[in-house]
């Protein structure tokens, strides 16, 4: 591995004197966008790269080198949509990856893998959770319901039917998470009015922007779900 080196780099900001551009408003950029530089030539501090920029990157996991590589597989029985699955799992497997990669239950979606979008929402003992941040091995004894478990045969769950009717989606990718979340939202009693629905559905991002239609769908479905609200 090469060693660190010190480098003083020629000023990349240097511009010819009396450049007419100097007098107009420039510039946005990733870094200076907010301060429109009137004088670009004034920013001529030499850029020195410190050792951390240089190199040597044990960045990506130096300490992991000493870590135990091996994986102790864990036997678990999980109850998903009423069916019991006997599984031998790498404990690192998230519930989401278990569903999608091992059980072909691809209805639960991966939109961020970090609990930031809600596309992976499933019902765990009736409560909505992010399956991407849940380790599958920790769920023995729990009841897991995914989007595939909501309909009764060909009969859509009222929430599913309402999403179709109100066009509560476009691309459909956040939709299973939205629907699982919406079902829980109504059951929790957090769907009393538009403002409450909006707030309590904010853990499910929809980049297509179907939010107003999602609110309409939930309002319709809440009356058909037989939940006292």
């Amino acid at each position: 591995m090469s060693d660190e080196f010190e480098a003083t780099v020629p000023d990349p900001h240097a511009s010819p004197p009396n450049d007419p551009l100097d007098d107009i408003l420039i510039f946005g950029s990733v870094e200076t966008r907010r301060r429109f530089l009137k004088k670009v030539a004034g920013t001529s501090a030499a850029l020195t790269l410190g050792p951390h920029l240089m190199g040597l990157s044990d960045l990506q996991g130096a300490s992991a080198i000493t870590t135990n590589h091996s994986t102790t597989m864990v036997d678990v029985q999980l109850k998903i949509n009423g069916a019991v699955h006997k599984l031998r799992l790498d404990p690192r497997t998230s519930l989401l990856d278990l569903l999608r990669e091992h059980l072909q239950l691809t209805g639960s979606k991966k939109g961020c893998d970090h609990g930031q979008c809600g596309a992976c929402t499933v019902l765990l003992n009736g409560r909505r959770v992010n399956s991407c941040l849940t380790l599958a091995v920790a769920l023995e004894g729990d009841e897991i319901t995914t989007i595939e478990g909501l309909a009764q045969g060909d009969q859509l769950h009222p929430m599913q039917a309402a999403f179709v009717e109100h066009d509560g989606f476009q691309c459909g990718y956040c939709t299973p998470g939205q629907i699982c979340s919406a079902v829980a939202c109504v059951q929790e009693g957090h769907a009393k009015d538009d403002a409450q629905i909006r707030e309590w559905m904010s853990g499910n991002l929809c980049r297509c922007g179907a939010y107003p239609n999602i609110v309409d769908a939930i309002k319709e479905a809440r009356g058909k779900m037989g939940v006292a609200s």
Partner: protein, 746 residues
């Protein structure tokens, strides 16, 4: 058959039941036997050379099948790039092939790919790859890249520095009233909820199948075939559903090549679902812009000059021009003189690409804010200023806009919104303690026409199957084309199946530029004409047909499912009867790929008007949009319910642009600091009010036989300006740098 209603039926999505039950299969959800998983290693510097890579630990980690680096990656036979101009052959924005050498051009660039049996193994092993760099000083902001900056003349065929007359005399004329301001927009990232992803599977060395999240199956097929020297028909691209795209799945990106390379090197199918972080660096973004707008107008508000000078960022791994001025100031208003300038500053930042209304979106934002500022200078109502400069003709082409109903859009929007109750003075309207602002802006987007072909098969039992290698990104294509097929073929909606998302089907263009409905709709129209002609040919030869011995040219569809003589509709025959008597189970036709005819007598452009209300706490000033009315004039609306959703979606994304969205970068390393959905703030449900959408106008049959100009992008244009203008109206503070976060209103 021409349908003259502006609003098509309010159908629910034909693919709705699949989507709400989780049965719709997106690209990486196909079950492919023996499929391995890939995880990337990306550069942590912005510029330099990789001096060493240590992959030993990764290679010996459990389950690892292959670690690809520039040292061992099987290189494609076609070096790089291509396809930029010849869009039918695919689109490359990042032209450099991944792992093609040891150079780093931006932070986040792929420098290795780990393939392992499981996702967990691949992700862990990737963390074990060690890299040494010899870094160089990167160009990380536009101010630093002035020497390298360029004024491109063309962006493909588009003149990006258009000009009409001379703006300078008017801008220097002190009798005229004017505005000269600079508006800036940050890097914005598409962030469809489905991250880009691909499964690549080789069958021997000569056959390749990819299940790929793309807006352009035929483009991907073409590029992969060229890149690997394969016969076109031996490359199959499958993508029945796309989980949103907004532009980031339009070009072929490095991860797609990487997966194909990895599958070849590892000898097994490889699935590569991009981590969200890499969606900020390896699939493009909307470039940051700084736009200086200068306006000069008479005291009556008549524009004498519009000058639009834009500065945008480019990159070193390909070309991208965000045509801000050419797509806004050069189109929207009748000004005596117009001048547009565009300068691109290449940076050591990942390359930008087209994102929903590229050029129009930032360009219209800047111009529509400037016009709002002008309205205060003139003491005129913002709507009146726009009416005073309404362009009946295209300002540069000098030909009339076809089926333009913008004035009606303003009128309907103002009425639905209650605009007349607006107190024109800023910082005057209140709701309790909250400041209330009303703002408006014009929306516009051109009507694009591309080439496509469709195959239509009519069965003797009355069913029809129509196929085209087009795409449904959530746009409603399945439904719209089922609807168009039903109308054009004359087959009941319930009996039509429309299939898309496979390279086996006839050519469909990239699902971009809001072109699909018109382009593929036209192909369906053509296929329907051919089908009717084929049926007519059977009928005229059939002694039992009432149309026996008639001239084929005298026959047309006179009612759904029925051919008859144009001049004597009493002589007619049923599609299915014709087929049955001819002893045919089915009849199939495929329309021809033809370059779209150019109508030089018209300009084709969609229009709209946004009216919006914001409420802001004066002490803790977070902007909440509380009401939006949007009126769109886009020709015919094929499916009313879904079109409304598309417009709402554009408005929602535009609210994000106005208030929340910005990809920010570390000034030292050039890495994005917020490449995730927790800190890149797309709007949540709580950010979005009711959005009242209306359509006005008439079908634009001068544009295409469907009468539709497309709706995917127009919704996002102008809305950020409407919000910013409302914020000014509420507070008296003009924020010219998006997004308008609370700190800027202190």
């Amino acid at each position: 058959m021409a349908n003259t209603n502006i609003l098509g039926p309010a159908r629910s999505r034909v693919d709705g039941p699949l989507k709400v039950t989780g049965r719709a299969k997106y690209a990486v959800e196909f079950e492919i036997p023996r499929c391995a998983h890939a995880w990337p290693v990306v550069s942590t510097i912005s510029k330099g050379t990789i001096t060493a890579m240590d992959t030993k630990a990764a290679e010996s980690a459990p389950g690892v099948l292959k670690v690809l680096t520039h040292q061992n990656a099987p290189q494609p036979t076609e070096a790089s790039g291509g396809g930029g101009a010849a869009r039918s052959e695919g689109i490359r924005i990042e032209e450099r092939n991944p792992l093609s050498d040891d150079k780093v051009h931006y932070a986040g660039q792929f420098i290795a790919l780990v393939v392992a049996q499981t996702l967990e193994q691949a992700r862990y092993a990737a963390s074990l790859v060690k890299v040494n760099y010899a870094p160089e000083a990167p160009l990380l902001d536009m101010a630093a890249a002035r020497k390298e900056s360029e004024k491109p003349k063309k962006n493909n065929d588009e003149n990006v520095q258009p000009k009409k007359g001379d703006v300078e005399p008017a801008l220097a004329n002190h009798i005229l009233l004017g505005v000269r301001q600079t508006y800036s927009t940050p890097t914005e990232t598409h962030n469809p909820i489905e991250m880009s992803g691909i499964i690549a599977a080789w069958e021997g060395d000569r056959k390749l199948t990819v299940w790929n999240a793309t807006q352009f199956v035929k483009g991907v097929q073409s590029i992969l075939a060229r890149t690997y020297g394969l016969d076109l028909e031996n490359v199959r691209v499958i993508c029945p559903f796309v989980g949103g795209a907004f532009g980031c799945k339009g070009a072929l990106w490095p991860h797609e090549l990487l997966a194909v390379m990895a599958a070849k090197a590892a000898g097994v199918p490889v699935k590569f679902h991009l981590p969200r972080r890499e969606m900020f660096t390896t699939t493009g973004h909307r470039t940051p812009t700084v736009q200086e707008i200068s306006l000069a107008a008479t005291s009556k508000g008549k524009l004498q000059a519009i000058k639009h000078v834009s500065h945008t960022a480019g990159a070193f791994v390909g070309d991208w021009v965000e045509s801000c001025g050419a797509r806004s100031s050069a189109v929207m208003y009748a000004s005596e003189a117009i001048k547009v300038e565009e300068t691109v500053y290449p940076l050591n930042v990942a390359i930008p690409t087209f994102m929903r209304a590229p050029g129009e979106c930032p360009g219209v934002y800047a111009l529509e804010c400037a016009l709002d500022e002008l309205s205060y200078v003139l003491s005129m109502d913002p709507v009146e200023v726009r009416l005073a400069n309404h362009a009946d003709d295209h300002p540069l082409k000098g030909v009339p806009f076809s089926a333009k109903h913008l004035k009606e859009a303003y009128q309907v929007g103002a009425e639905k919104f209650g605009w007349s109750k607006r107190n024109p003075r800023p910082d005057t309207m209140r709701d309790g303690d909250l400041k209330v602002g009303w703002g408006m802006a014009t929306a516009t987007y051109p009507a694009h026409k591309m080439s496509a072909a469709a195959k239509a098969t009519l069965f003797a039992d009355g069913r029809a199957v129509v196929q085209c290698a087009t795409h449904d990104l959530g746009t409603g294509a399945y439904t719209a084309f089922t609807q168009i097929s039903s109308e054009q073929l004359g087959v009941p909606y319930e009996k039509v199946t429309f299939e898309l998302g496979k390279s086996d089907f006839p050519f469909g263009p990239v699902a971009g530029g809001s072109n699909s409905t018109g382009t593929v709709g036209t192909a369906i129209h053509d296929a329907a004409q051919m089908l009717h002609r084929a049926l007519a040919e059977l009928a005229v030869d059939d002694a039992q047909s009432p149309l026996h011995r008639a001239k084929v040219n005298d026959i047309a569809m006179i009612a759904p499912g029925r051919l008859g003589l144009k001049k004597d509709p009493n002589k007619s025959d049923n599609f299915t009867d014709i087929l049955k008597r001819a002893g045919k189970n089915a009849i199939a036709v495929q329309s021809k790929m033809e370059e779209p005819e150019e109508d030089k007598k018209h300009a084709f452009q969609s229009w709209g008007a946004h009216f919006c209300e914001v409420k802001i706490d004066p002490l803790v000033p977070r902007v909440q949009v509380t009401r939006v009315v949007t009126v769109i004039n886009c020709g015919r609306v094929v499916t009313a319910k879904l079109a409304r959703s598309q417009i709402i979606g554009g408005v929602v994304m535009g609210i994000g642009m106005a208030l929340h969205e910005a990809t920010e970068y570390d000034p030292k390393t050039g890495m994005p600091v917020n490449p995730n959905l927790a800190e890149y703030h797309v709007p949540t449900n709580a950010d979005i009010p009711e959005i009242d959408v209306h359509f006005v106008g008439e079908p634009d049959f001068a544009f295409n036989p469907i009468g539709a100009r497309g709706i995917g992008e127009i919704g996002i244009t102008g809305i950020a300006a409407a919000v910013a203008n409302a914020v000014y109206h509420a507070t008296g503070k003009r924020i010219r740098d998006l997004p308008i976060t609370p700190d800027k209103l202190l």
